[in-house]
């Protein structure tokens, strides 16, 4: 049994890992030490989250309203993508099911056929979450799965730095098996024969030994890459953006329960509305846009007053060839990074923690578990990579060198097959394990103008006329239901003001409001 677990690095990854291990191993003799330095800044990734985070917090016994107040959170029902398909076009990728499935098959077949028949309503119009988001409404999903309001889920926009502070307090106040050590790491100690890490030496001279190490040192990947020699596998061929400028502004949007991702000539710009400020960022590829051009563009699209200096972040889309080597697992940016387009950074932290707690063996020989963990993480990264590339590739844009490069770049074979299958047979391939499922693929593919040459015969139990009528009626019902819901700001005021507010519903490891 591992006796001493050492987490290197604070930040979102470090504190989420610490909180999870402290909670899950609170009755064990496991001693958990987190080493961080106040002198080293954190990237603070992931102000926008996805619904799975609710499951993580619930598992830790965290009160959702306390969490919201501590992190200045607002609700998130999805992401509005503007100018991705073409300039002036926008759609929402919601946390919700796409329409409703019938005994004849998934809804997207019906929508696709209706679209070919001239239906004017876009795919995202068939999500209650989209309507609520556009109207600035919010309510908790119903747990009665016969109701329309059960077909969506929600996440949060949070101040990630505050989330780390919140989890630090959670660890330090609650668990006796936890300690935090301030200091910069000067040296990593290794066993000369096995190469295993045996301890770390801080700039204060203090040495901390451990049986197992978790590398949350961010892009530096101090243990996994620098010490144990894990090799980065570059994915920038498919995801060419490699820089971001970020800055918070004082503007607030109390009735905008969604993130914005607005495409530009060489990347895209985010806007994340928190309770007290707005997070902004401009993601771009330096191969197609200089830093100064990006800065100029960013400022042009910025609303409100800046609350800090611009923060320039360099990155590349990549993952390590192994997230677990020897007695060390990397979690978060030290393991890999895919760009923040679909808010997957915190999710990848969460998934790694969950997989590690499931696979971490009780003995000292972890080769089998290590290989399985690495296999599963590779699978997670590749599926998310494919989904991100989909956003760039399915577009009419050819108005800059960047978009022309995207149009002609090779695709991962898995994505190529998936897209061609949709086009040829109208089928969205599904998988049991992995983040984005059928509805997400349908929303993004169809809303960005992806076509299918198939009009599926299995929808032909409805005539053309019946189908169009049916969908228009369903759409009207969704719109009416959304209209009946209160404003997000009212709900937030109650939560922040301590007023009477209903309890949040049970969470699930799903984007689609499926409680399991």
């Amino acid at each position: 049994m591992i006796q001493k677990l050492v987490i290197v690095g604070g930040g979102t990854a470090g504190w989420m890992t610490a909180a999870a291990f402290c909670h899950l191993f609170q009755d064990s003799p496991l001693q958990i030490t987190l080493v961080e330095s106040d002198a080293i800044g954190t990237v603070g990734v992931g102000e926008a989250t996805i619904p799975h985070l609710r499951y993580f917090n619930e598992r830790l016994g965290i009160n959702e309203h306390e969490f919201m107040r501590a992190t200045n959170a607002t609700f998130k029902l999805g992401i509005m993508f503007s100018d991705w398909r073409k300039s002036g076009h926008s759609y929402i990728h919601p946390f919700g099911e796409f329409g409703f499935a019938t005994s004849h098959g998934p809804f997207y077949h019906y929508w696709s056929r209706a679209h070919q028949l001239g239906l004017e309503l876009a795919a995202d119009e068939f999500s209650i979450a989209t309507h609520m988001a556009r109207l600035g409404r919010f309510t908790y999903p119903s747990q009665n799965d016969s109701e329309l309001l059960s077909t969506f889920s929600y996440a949060f926009h949070i101040d990630a730095a505050r989330y780390a502070v919140f989890l630090r307090q959670y660890c330090e106040k609650t668990f006796r098996n936890f300690s935090r050590q301030e200091g910069k790491i000067e040296h990593v100690l290794q066993d000369s024969s096995s190469g295993d890490i045996t301890g770390i030496k801080l700039d204060s001279g203090l040495a901390i030994d451990g049986d197992f190490f978790i590398d949350c040192s961010g892009f530096r990947s101090l243990l996994l890459n620098k010490t144990l020699g894990a090799k980065p596998l570059d994915m920038s061929e498919y995801l060419p953006c490699n820089s971001a400028i970020a800055v918070p502004t004082d503007e607030t949007y109390p009735d905008v329960p969604f993130s914005r991702a607005t495409a530009h000539a060489a990347g895209w710009q985010w806007r994340i509305p928190l309770r007290h400020r707005t997070g902004n960022g401009c993601v771009y590829s330096t191969n197609f846009m200089s830093d100064s051009e990006a800065e100029e563009l960013f400022h042009k699209n910025l609303a409100g007053n800046k609350l800090a200096d611009l923060n320039l972040i360099r990155f590349s889309a990549r993952r390590m060839d192994a997230s677990w080597k020897n007695n060390c697992v990397a979690i978060g940016l030290s393991s890999g990074f895919l760009e923040p387009l679909e808010s997957t950074s915190i999710h990848l932290i969460q998934v790694a923690i969950m997989k590690l707690t499931e696979l971490l063996p009780n003995g000292k020989d972890w080769r089998v578990e290590r290989d399985e963990f690495n296999r599963q993480m590779t699978d997670e990264y590749e599926k998310i990579r494919d989904f991100l590339v989909l956003h760039y590739r399915v577009t009419e844009r050819e108005d800059s060198e960047f978009w022309r490069y995207i149009k002609n770049m090779p695709l991962p074979s898995s994505l190529e097959q998936r897209m061609n299958l949709i086009q040829e047979a109208g089928i969205i391939d599904t998988y049991q394990h992995g983040l984005f499922l059928e509805s997400s693929w349908a929303y993004v593919y169809f809303c960005q103008g992806g076509q299918s040459n198939a009009s599926h015969h299995r929808t032909h139990h409805l005539s053309d006329q019946e189908l169009l009528e049916h969908l228009r009626k369903f759409h009207a019902e969704i719109a009416k239901t959304a209209q009946s819901i209160g404003k997000q700001s009212d709900m937030l005021n109650r939560i922040y003001g301590g007023g009477e507010v209903e309890k949040w519903p049970q969470s699930a490891m799903s984007l689609y409001g499926v409680f399991s």
């Binding site: 049994m1 696979l359 009780n362 299958l421 047979a425 391939d429």
Partner: protein, 423 residues
């Protein structure tokens, strides 16, 4: 109905744009395929020709199946269940290495936040004479025994009602051109042309004309021979048992007062585990027994056939281009087969009939033995946790648990697990 008419050519409807599908096979495979496709493709209004070959010995009288029942077969099974001609059973292997039965429930229970396989391992380690793994499953998800001939008849009637044309014949000859099937000529001299030829015949009589079968290594699945026996007046019990002895695996289905015994001898034989690498190639699509040959216990080839039909019904007749549909179908078909091969290989290795575990089984077993873990795969037939049941049945034991289970209070886990059992 087709008569012996040398001039008649089935499937030639020159002025029709309707898609024509010829299905070749026998028994339940054929009628199930025909009825299911006729139902699911009804709005395409296809012409479906079912070329019915004589039944062979693999068209057995009875079979068992286990949940979840696939969409193609479940309506008929449900109906039969209602009519009581179908019997619920618990599958049991009294002489498997561990003396355990195996069953196929989802095991979706968690004990004190610890997954069930982990909780079970903790209980076994800490409580003397803790109930065997299969005990948790009784009555929860019984398998069923069904009369294949009766179900095949039901599907035949259903198919005919849906305008499927049955063409009985003794044999068919394949007429092809540059690797593509042009038509079939029956022993009666009838010619059958079609847009698609679906092959569910034993050993893939059509597909073997356009590609060769690939053999599964003998170490993983040794050759076998099958002997079948029908014994009357043995017992009134309804049951299905597997027995392993020497190099033989005997499955016995007791159905009322008749017992059907099938013995597969793995000490060499004329049957080899083989499959077609591309079950959809050109205009020929091999499903079930037409796609592969494996020892049929745990997962019979009709289960694979059902899954293939479900996929096919979404792909066929949607677009004249089928490059990516074929690739998709082939990927899924091979995945289904791999899972079936893994399940059989696991049991054969457990009893020493096979010498080598498949690579995916090696991964599964290694993780299970190391820390009672289960590999996350896109399982179709056997759920993640049900693999644990199979590991126990095959005699594999974990040496440890994961650290989380080990750190959780034993009393809490045992108490919670006992309360789950007692439900």
């Amino acid at each position: 109905m087709a008569s012996v008419c040398h001039e008649f050519v089935w499937g030639i409807f020159m002025n029709s744009t309707r898609i024509t599908i010829a299905i070749v096979g026998s028994g339940l495979s054929l009628t199930l395929s025909a009825a299911y496709l006729a139902e699911k493709l009804q709005y395409l209004k296809p012409i479906i020709l079912a070329v019915q070959l004589p039944e062979d010995e693999s068209d057995e009288d009875f079979s068992f199946s286990f949940p979840p029942f696939s969409e193609p077969i479940s309506p008929i099974l449900r109906q039969q269940l209602a009519e009581s001609s179908l019997r619920k059973i618990d599958l049991y292997t009294p002489s498997s290495p561990a003396g355990l039965g195996f069953n196929f429930s989802t095991y979706g229970v968690v004990s004190a936040g610890v997954s069930f396989p982990q909780a079970y391992q903790i209980c076994v380690q800490n409580v003397a004479d803790f109930p065997k793994y299969d005990r948790f499953l009784e009555e929860k998800a019984p398998g069923i025994i069904y009369n294949r001939k009766s179900v095949a008849d039901d599907y035949r009637r259903l198919a005919v009602k849906k305008d499927v044309v049955l063409i009985p014949c003794k044999s068919v000859q394949v007429i092809k051109d540059e690797g593509k099937i042009i038509s079939l000529e029956t022993s009666d001299g009838q010619r059958v042309t079609a847009d698609y030829f679906i092959d569910c015949s034993a050993k893939g009589k059509l597909m073997s004309c356009v590609q060769e079968r690939v053999r599964v290594s003998d170490e993983i699945m040794p050759s076998w021979s099958v002997a079948r026996k029908r014994i009357s007046g043995v017992s009134s019990a309804i049951s299905c048992t597997f027995k392993f002895a020497s190099s033989q695996m005997t499955s016995t289905i007791n159905y009322g007062h008749t017992s059907y015994e099938k013995t597969a001898d793995f000490n060499g034989g004329e049957a080899n585990a083989e499959y077609f690498q591309f079950p959809w190639l050109g205009n020929c699509i091999a499903v079930g027994r037409g796609f592969a040959e494996i020892p049929e216990f745990l997962i019979d080839l009709n289960r694979i056939l059902e899954k293939q039909l479900m996929v096919l019904s979404w792909l066929i007749g949607v677009n004249s281009q089928t490059v990516y549909s074929e690739r998709h179908f082939n990927t899924l078909s091979n995945r289904y087969l791999d899972e079936a091969v893994d399940a059989v290989n696991l049991m054969l290795c457990g009893v020493g009939f096979a010498r080598e575990l498949t690579p995916s089984n090696q991964r599964r077993i290694a993780l299970f033995q190391s820390s009672a873990g289960t590999v996350k795969e896109n399982n179709v037939f056997i759920s993640e946790n049900s693999w644990t049941g199979l590991f126990h049945a095959a005699g594999y034991k974990p040496t440890n648990t994961n650290a989380f289970a080990a750190s959780t209070s034993v009393n809490q886990i045992v108490g919670r697990t006992k309360s789950l059992i007692s439900r």
